[in-house]
Amino acid sequence: MKRFTRALIFFASLAAIWQIICWLRIWSPVLLPSPITVSRYLWEAMLDGTLAIASWITIKRLLIGYGIGCALGLPLGLMTARSKFLGDTIGLLALGLQTLPSVCWVPLAILWFQQTEAAMLFVVVMGTLWSVLIAVDNGVRSLPPIFVRAARTMGSEGAHTLVKVVLPASLPYVVSGMKQGWAFAWRSLMGAEIYVTILSGYGLGQLLHFGRELGAMDQVVGVMLVIVVIGLLADKILFSPWENFMHRRWGTSRD
């Protein structure tokens, strides 16, 4: 409760400072909308449903793309870590592609999939897949061999060892990789949505883009705030439980 109050006071002060600057009229309201106008925009957009629809479209794209990326990245990472051949081939490919900001895939994605959901998903998957793959690969490689040996003496082998020993033992790496994958996916999706208009639905990025085109800075800033809040919530909902679990079991520090 104390921490909540502290955060509340901090953000309220930020908003107050922002409002005061607006009142001082240093910059034109077109360039710097005040928190009051932004709130008004957010309120109206919430009432007429544009915000909810756009958020839902964006979140749906993100969850599906991220899900596909993780579903591919986890087993591939396990495989590249345990097979020299796959490590030297797919592992190297992943390392290379991971350095490529996935928004760079947008032009190709548009050519391949046209202006469809598939193009958006492709960009998100590219943002997620490689960093998850590399994190899992790293985690498995840095595993102390004693865990697998101990498990073998207790009768564990094959898939059982993989699922019950290798995967949980590399959990700290896997979670941080999935977190990074999430961050990459979120950024690349926003980039893609601002960059291209998809006919199958307007996400938050597109809403932000329209705001810019119309010179409606209250809309731009309002959507930015929503993007921040969704990112923060996703972090809390998706990753906090895992981080708490690791804190409890491994004794690692919680941040």
């Binding site: 102390p144 004693i146 865990f147 040996r149 101990a150 498990a151 073998r152 003496t153 207790m154 009768g155 564990s156 059982h160 019950k164 020993v165 949980p168 033992a169 959990l171 409890r248 079991r249 491994w250 004794g251």
Partner: protein, 268 residues
């Protein structure tokens, strides 16, 4: 369904036979003969300590008996059956506790039990509780591994190794990383547990006193190539106190022999 009493009953420990076993490794481009035609017989329920300088192949022999490695030559038999891989009849305790940090204490002890057919979840928990009580950690059933001290971790590792009710217990310098006080408590408890639940134990150590305190027999190894040099029967009454004069005298004798064998190696 298996009865929990039946699961916990004492079983006959195994006889072990190491028959003309050799094993070599490539280390830094050189071939190291870790074991060179080693023969050893261990009786039912016997407590045998393997002592020798590092690199003498005593841990290698343990891994071969555990089935974690295969010999280049010769064979290993438990009760006349050839060792062809790891098995629940031979459980291992390592120098590092090797407990799984993603499981709590009970989860660790139950890991091997989950792979044993015929037990319900409740049975497994009961069995885990029994063995944790045996090692004196019943009240830490729900603790996490990182919350335990080094000695407690090794106790959990011992409970984990005992839980599937193996016939042979293989211990690879399990107490080497612990402080003296903790170690002494564990010597006493291990002797008690060994008496309560008859097991054939092979215990690898480089601490001669520890070997004399625990073993029915102390087997001396020498390195390069790894060979058995000499063996000593320890007939001191149990439970033994590591600080007793008789024990110290015997340890001195064995240490002298050990030094002689290693000196011979240096001279050669």
């Amino acid at each position: 369904m298996m009865d929990i009493q039946e699961e916990l009953q004492n079983i006959v420990p195994a006889k072990l036979k190491v028959d003309d076993v050799s094993k070599s490794f490539a280390a830094r481009g050189r071939r190291v003969q870790a074991l060179d035609h080693v023969n050893l017989e261990v009786g039912e329920g016997e407590f045998v300590c393997l002592v020798g300088p590092s690199g003498c192949g005593k841990s290698t022999l343990l891994n071969l008996i555990a089935g974690l490695d295969t010999p280049d030559n010769g064979s290993l038999l438990t009760d006349g059956r050839k060792v062809e891989g790891p098995g629940r009849d031979r459980m291992v305790m390592f120098q590092e506790h090797a407990l799984f940090p993603w499981l709590d204490v009970t989860g660790n002890v139950m890991f091997g039990l989950k792979l044993k057919p015929g037990l319900t979840r409740k049975d497994r928990r009961e069995v885990a509780r029994y063995y944790l009580k045996l090692v004196g950690l019943e009240q830490f059933m729900d603790s996490n591994v990182h919350e335990l001290s080094g000695g407690m971790k090794q106790r959990v590792a011992l409970a984990r190794a005992l839980a599937p009710n193996p016939r042979v217990l293989l211990m690879d310098e399990p107490f080497a990383a612990l402080d003296a006080m903790t170690r002494e408590n564990l010597y006493a408890d291990l002797q008690k547990i060994w008496a309560a639940r008859r097991k054939t134990i092979i215990f690898v150590t480089h601490n001669v006193r520890e070997a004399v305190c625990l073993g029915d027999r102390v087997i001396l190894f020498s390195a390069n190539p790894g060979r058995i040099r000499e063996e000593f029967k320890v007939t001191l009454p149990r439970p033994r106190d590591i600080n007793s004069v008789e024990l110290a005298a015997m340890a001195t004798e064995i240490t002298r022999a050990l030094k002689q064998h290693t000196k011979v190696e240096v001279a050669v």
